[in-house]
C-alpha cells in the first residue's frame, strides 16, 4: 500500500494561482482532553463525570460514521495520528500549501456548543474553543482565521465572549447554529446582532446535521442521503425569520454568511417572499422594503457543496440572481464532501469571475 501523501490535483491549481480564500475549514481536537488546557479544572471534572447534555436525539447514531469515519476524507487522517483536521502540519501539507490558500476560516463544529443545555458549561466550552483556536491554530499559521464560538441561547454571555475575543482581529465572524432554540430572527438573539454590528463581525451560520429540531419540517429523515440535503432546510428558516422579524431594519449593517447551506434555493425563495409581501405586507409593517432587498444586501453564501445542475451553464443564472459578489469559495476540508478548488466549478468561469468568488468577495466581506 502506498503511503504517499500529496495533493492529487496539485498540477491544476494554476487556475486559481492568485491564491484562494477558503471560508470553511474544520479543525478538530486531537482527543477528548485537547481542550482541557483551556477549561477550568472544575469543568474538566464535570466533563468526565457528566459530559455534554445536548439538544439532540439519536445521540449514538448521528455522531458518525456518515459514509466515512468522522465524515472525513479517507486520505485526510494524519500519518502522525489523531483525527482529520487535528494536525496543523498535515493540514498545511495536504490542503493549505498545494491550493495556495491565502486565508482559511476555521469553523470548529465538534463541540456543538450551541446545543449544550447546561449554560454555564456551554459558556466555559465556548471560551475554551476560542482560546484553543488562538493558541493552537492562529498563533501557529498566519493564514488562519477563527470563528468566534458563543452560547447563542445565553446572549448575555455571548456578548461578553464577543467583547473578550473581538480585540483579537483574527476572529472574523460569530458562529451560530441554524437550528436554534427559536428561529434566529427572534428578539432574544438581538443582543448578539447588536454586538456583531458594532464590531463589524459577520454571523457565520453553518449547517449542521444535528440539533434539537428535526432537520426537515416533516420530521427526522431515515437516511444520511436525505439528511445531507435536509441540513440546508435550516437556511430558509434562518433567512425568513431574520428578514420578517425586522433584524435588518434594526441592524442594517449586519452581515450574515450561510455556510454549507447551499444557495440555489435562495432565488426562488426570495421571489416567493416578495410576492407575499406585496399582498400581506401589512402584517409586517416594520419592513420598509421587499424581502429580496434585505436578502440581496445582508446575506452571503459559501459555495460548498457546489450546486451542480445537469447543464452547468445554468449556474451562471443562479449567480446572476444571487449577485456574484455574494459567493464565497469554501472547501469544507477535511470532510468527505469537500470541494477541490480545481474541480468545484463545472461551469466555465472567466479568470476575473473565478478570482472574485475564490478570493475577492471574501477579502471584501472579511476585510482581509
Amino acid at each position: 500500500m502506498t503511503s504517499v501523501i500529496e495533493s492529487p490535483s496539485a498540477g491544476a491549481v494554476t487556475k486559481v494561482d492568485a491564491g484562494i480564500i477558503d471560508c470553511d475549514v474544520h479543525p478538530l481536537p486531537k482527543d477528548s482532553k485537547s481542550l482541557y488546557p483551556y477549561l477550568a479544572r472544575s469543568w474538566q471534572e464535570h466533563s468526565e463525570q457528566f459530559g455534554t447534555h445536548l439538544r439532540q436525539p439519536f445521540i449514538n447514531t448521528t455522531q458518525y460514521p456518515r459514509t466515512a469515519p468522522l465524515i472525513c476524507r479517507r486520505d485526510a487522517w494524519p500519518p502522525a495520528g489523531g483525527p482529520p483536521g487535528s494536525d496543523l502540519a498535515f493540514m498545511q501539507q495536504q490542503h493549505l500549501d498545494p491550493f495556495h490558500i491565502l486565508k482559511a476560516i476555521l469553523i470548529p463544529l465538534f463541540g456543538n456548543v450551541a446545543s449544550e443545555r447546561n449554560q454555564d458549561f456551554a459558556r466555559a466550552l465556548a471560551t475554551a474553543h476560542n482560546d484553543w483556536q488562538v493558541a493552537e491554530w492562529l498563533d501557529r499559521d498566519a493564514r488562519l482565521r477563527a470563528s468566534l464560538v458563543v452560547t447563542q441561547d445565553d446572549p448575555v454571555a455571548a456578548v461578553k465572549e464577543i467583547e473578550r475575543c473581538a480585540r483579537d482581529g483574527r476572529f472574523v465572524q460569530i458562529m451560530l447554529a441554524p437550528r436554534s432554540s427559536e428561529p434566529l430572527g427572534r428578539r432574544r438573539y438581538w443582543p448578539i446582532y447588536e454586538a456583531a454590528q458594532a464590531y463589524g463581525l459577520p454571523l457565520g451560520i453553518h449547517s449542521y446535521g444535528i440539533g434539537g429540531h428535526a432537520s426537515t419540517g416533516g420530521g427526522w429523515p431515515s437516511f444520511y442521503m436525505e439528511e445531507h440535503y435536509a441540513t440546508t432546510m435550516g437556511g430558509p428558516a434562518v433567512m425568513s425569520s431574520m428578514v420578517m422579524e425586522g433584524v435588518f431594519e434594526e441592524f442594517p449593517a449586519l452581515k450574515v454568511v450561510l455556510v454549507e447551506i447551499g444557495f440555489a434555493w435562495v432565488p426562488s425563495f426570495a421571489w416567493r417572499l416578495d410576492r407575499l409581501w406585496e399582498r400581506l405586507g401589512d402584517e409586517v409593517p416594520h419592513l420598509t422594503r421587499p424581502p429580496s432587498d434585505y436578502i440581496r444586501k445582508n446575506f452571503w453564501y459559501t459555495t460548498q457543496p457546489m450546486e451542480e445542475p445537469a447543464k452547468p451553464e445554468a449556474l451562471r443564472r443562479c449567480f446572476d440572481w444571487l449577485g456574484w459578489d455574494r459567493l464565497l469559495f469554501s472547501t469544507d476540508y477535511p470532510h468527505w464532501d469537500q470541494d477541490d478548488p480545481s474541480y468545484a466549478f463545472k461551469v466555465k468561469l472567466s479568470p476575473a469571475e473565478r478570482k472574485q468568488i475564490c478570493r475577492g468577495n471574501a477579502e471584501n466581506l472579511y476585510r482581509f
Binding site: M1, T2, V4, P8, S9, A12, T67, A68, R73, R74, D75, W336, D337, Q338, D339, D340, S342, Y343
Partner: protein, 140 residues
C-alpha cells in the same frame, strides 16, 4: 505494450493494492480475490487517489425492505466523495458510460532467478537452484 513489474504476488494480498508509477503515471493494482486489476490511480470525478479508497460490496434491492450484498470485495469507493467503481472494469457503478477510470491489463508470471551456481574454482560439488516466484505485471 511493454509489461512493467508491479511486485510479488505475496506483496499484494487480497483486498489490498499496490501503487506503481510508470512513466509519470500512478497505477494502482488491486488484488480482487486473487485476480489482479490495475486502474489509473486518479478518480475521474475530482482526482482523488483511488488507492486510498475502501473496498466494499454492492448492496442491491429488488423491492424496498429487501437487501442483499453482492460482489463483496469487488467495488472500490473513492476516498473523497464516495463514487463507486467496479474494480474489474474501472467503470463507476451509477454512471458507467460517463464516469470511469482507465484500466490496464495485468498478468501474473513466474519470475525466475538463478541462484549462485557456484564458482568453477570451488572444489565442493554444487547444484544449480532456481528460485521461482510469481510476480504481477501491468501493461502500460
Amino acid at each position: 505494450m511493454p509489461k512493467e513489474r508491479v511486485g510479488l504476488v505475496s506483496e499484494i494480498p487480497p483486498g489490498s493494492n499496490k501503487v506503481v508509477t510508470v512513466r509519470g503515471r500512478e497505477i494502482a493494482v488491486f488484488n480482487v480475490g486473487g485476480d489482479f486489476h490495475a486502474l489509473l490511480n486518479r478518480c475521474p470525478h475530482e482526482g482523488a487517489k483511488l488507492s486510498r479508497g475502501i473496498i466494499v460490496g454492492l448492496p442491491e434491492s429488488e423491492v424496498p425492505g429487501c437487501y442483499q450484498l453482492s460482489r463483496p470485495g469487488e467495488i472500490l469507493r473513492c476516498p473523497w466523495h464516495g463514487w463507486e467503481f467496479d474494480l474489474r472494469t474501472g467503470k463507476s457503478h451509477c454512471d458507467p458510460q460517463g464516469l470511469f477510470t482507465r484500466q490496464y491489463k495485468t498478468s501474473v508470471e513466474r519470475e525466475t532467478s538463478p541462484d549462485s551456481c557456484g564458482d568453477a574454482g570451488l572444489t565442493a560439488e554444487t547444484f544449480p537452484v532456481i528460485v521461482e516466484e510469481a510476480v504481477v505485471l501491468v501493461e502500460v
